[in-house]
């Protein structure tokens, strides 16, 4: 009887332990410390709100070592989330902000970004097409500098899909691809991409266009095997579960190129969506100089090479002097950028009402 009680206790304790283990994997609301490259007695810390490509230790370590600082990073997806995090933070909690370039004006207008000194940056080193002073400046003041760009288009496995057919965006709806498609789950660029197939340029999308986009998106959904984030869709492509990622691009396949050179991306004749990131200093930061120094490092030739080839995702550096190898440039299709830029549309952020309407459309299609 005593033994039975022990067994029962063990079972109960085990169940409790399992519950605790199951509950132990929550998300972190605080910036996570990058554990490499900084000494434990670093006198300074820098908190950066970033896309995941900035969490690569290879990118952060040189700055941390050179400045005896620990860079704490918190990655996010989507400006709305970042603004939500900032809303819930105290001024000074965050020093550096990596943001979609198209969102710089509204964030600067909201007073969240600190003006930068233009003379701190060599704008001649940036590609002309990504300088975009109309976005990065407000009333003549510079609020963010361009750092990286790429495309939401189609990524595919060239061993299983004809690259020439992929040049026609409408081919995505061909029965030949049924069950072979993964859709990247960021609704704005994907819906804008679907809009291109309908002949609607991203900046011209209105609520009136949404029914047509919804119908076309729903057709695409029936073709798809998966709707997922960057990692999920990458995994599906890499493991052969799907042959095409809609909304993918160089950020989906470049990091996998060494393992499987057949994984490629293309800009269809109808064009693609061009995303671009910028980096700035938050107005509430009490470490303006150090934060500015970090921004300078990120857009330097060395920082840009590391950022462009980040382990999270690759992308074109804004700095044309980035110290990339010829092989890395080849994977990024460096020499074809002029044509790609000409045939792509800047990532367009809808206003809040259209954004909400687009998310509603997306959830209706995806909910199943």
């Amino acid at each position: 009887m005593h033994k039975t009680r022990n067994m029962v206790s063990m079972a109960t304790l085990s169940a409790a332990a399992l519950l605790l283990a199951s509950c132990a994997g929550g998300t972190d609301a605080e910036p996570s410390s990058n554990s490499t490259g900084a000494s434990s007695d670093a006198p300074q810390e820098l908190n950066a709100l970033v896309w995941c490509d900035h969490t690569d230790p290879e990118l952060l370590a040189p700055f941390e070592e050179a400045n005896n600082v620990t860079v704490n990073v918190r990655d996010y997806e989507g400006t709305g989330v970042a603004l939500g995090i900032l809303e819930q933070s105290q001024p000074g909690d965050w020093d550096v902000f990596v943001i979609d370039s198209v969102d710089v004006p509204r964030v600067a207008e909201a007073g969240l970004l600190a003006p930068l000194n233009k003379s701190d940056f060599d704008f001649d080193q940036f590609f002309d097409e990504v300088k975009l002073p109309e976005i990065h400046e407000l009333d003549g003041e510079l609020y963010a500098v361009p750092e990286k760009f790429g495309y939401n288009t189609v990524a595919f496995n060239g061993a299983n899909v004809d690259a020439e057919k992929m040049r026609d965006l409408s081919f995505l709806w061909d029965p030949e691809l049924a069950g072979k498609i993964a859709i990247y789950d960021y609704y704005i660029p994907v819906m804008e991409f679907v809009g291109l197939e309908l002949g609607i340029e991203p900046q011209n999308i209105t609520v009136d266009d949404l029914p047509a986009i919804e119908a076309r998106l729903a057709e695409l959904k029936t073709q798809s095997a998966q709707v997922g984030d960057v990692v999920s869709t990458q995994t599906a492509l890499a493991t052969g579960e799907v042959d095409v990622i809609v909304g993918g691009g160089e950020f989906s396949t470049s990091v996998l190129n060494a393992e499987n050179p057949d994984l490629d991306w293309i800009l269809p004749a109808q064009g693609g969506i061009r995303w671009q990131q910028a980096i700035g200093v938050l107005a509430g930061s009490e470490k303006q100089d150090l934060a500015t120094k970090f921004v300078q490092y990120i857009v330097s030739a060395e920082g840009q090479a590391a950022l462009a080839t980040s382990s999270c995702y690759w992308g074109m550096p804004a700095n044309k002097n980035a110290t990339l190898s010829d092989e890395q440039k080849n994977i990024l299709r460096w020499d074809e950028q002029a044509g790609f830029i000409a045939n792509s549309y800047p990532y367009y952020i809808p206003d809040a009402d259209l954004d909400a309407a687009m998310l509603d459309v997306w959830t209706r299609v995806v909910v199943g």
Binding site: K3, T4, M7, V8, M10, A11, T12, S14, A15, A17, L18, L19, A21, S22, G25, Y76, E77, G78, T79, G80, V81, A82, L83, G84, I85, E87, Q88, R106, G179, D185, Y186, Y187, S224, A225, Q226, V227, G228, D229, S232, T235, A236, T239, G240, E241, D351, A352, D353, D355, A356, L359, D360, T363, R364, V366, V367, G368
Partner: protein
């Protein structure tokens, strides 16, 4: 004397009470408050309103996500119990007592690996070129690979694998508390083995089944990772819809309201099953 004992009681309970207030009650109040805000014009409007709850009550997409959640979790609970009960029964009554601790330990071992790793492992097993399809194709049982990954089937299968041990442990605990002389007495009175199981063992083990089913329900209804990784996002469950509001739009108020709906559902299930939520044997 009573006052002194009362004071001692407060001292002993105080730390736990404080932790509960700080780590549960206060955040809960914040979640409730946040659910009454609104996300409008790209910012959070802190004027209190019931707009989010109105939307929850009227939005067909949210209803569909909730229905998906309940269906998936319902299937998980049913299949987990069906798998767990025979396993617990065998451990409790067929495995020699000296080996039971080891067998119980072995049932828990799979839980020592990361939850995310286990999810991705299932994805690799179920993939078109995964273990199952490759095996079936090598045996010439199928021509084209079956679509197993990125489906509701995959989500339920992974959930059952993850949570079956919870039910196994609780059912085992319940079975071990049944006095061995009860089934023996029933047999002595002429009952068949099946009749003994149906009329003696099963009814007396219902508390363990209920506890396991409840824990499985609680763990699965709020799970985001498994449907996202294994289910492939082909249908949205409520936690995925919740995460979509947070990760893509920063709509914390609507997400908070959805979280409270999940909490209310769990509370309702608790209320329904409360009388059996104990591993103590009833007299």
């Amino acid at each position: 004397m009573i006052n002194r004992r009362s004071w001692q009681g407060w001292v002993l309970v105080g730390p736990a009470l404080l932790v509960t207030l700080v780590l549960f009650a206060a955040p809960m109040v914040m979640v409730i408050l946040t659910s009454l805000y609104r996300r409008t014009g790209g910012t959070t409007n802190r004027t209190l309103s019931l707009d989010n709850y109105l939307r929850l009550a009227t939005d067909a997409t949210i209803h569909q996500a909730l229905l998906n959640s309940l269906e998936v979790v319902g299937l998980t609970v049913i299949f987990s119990t069906l798998v767990a009960y025979p396993l617990a029964y065998i451990i409790a009554f067929r495995v020699p007592a000296k080996w039971q601790a080891l067998v119980l330990l072995l049932t828990v071992v799979p839980f020592w690996t990361s939850y995310v790793v286990r999810s991705y492992s299932w994805l690799l097993v179920l993939a078109k070129n995964g273990v199952i399809n490759q095996t079936l194709q090598s045996w010439n049982l199928i021509g084209e690979p079956l679509t197993l990954a990125n489906t509701r089937f995959a989500t339920v299968l992974a959930f059952v694998h993850f949570f079956v041990m919870v039910s196994t442990l609780t059912i085992y605990a319940s079975l071990r508390q049944i006095p061995r002389n009860l089934p023996l007495a029933a047999r002595d009175l002429g009952a068949s083995p099946f009749y003994v199981f149906a009329r003696v063992t099963l009814p007396l083990s219902i508390p363990g089944v209920t506890v396991g089913a409840f824990l499985t329900f609680v763990l699965a209804i709020g799970d985001y990772i498994t449907p996202q990784i294994v289910g492939g996002g082909n249908e949205l469950l409520l936690p995925q819809l919740l995460m979509l509001q947070v990760s893509r739009r920063g709509d914390f108020p609507l997400a908070a309201a959805m979280a409270l709906v999940l909490l209310v559902i769990v509370a309702a299930v608790y209320a329904v099953s409360a009388k059996n939520l104990t591993l103590e044997r009833k007299r």
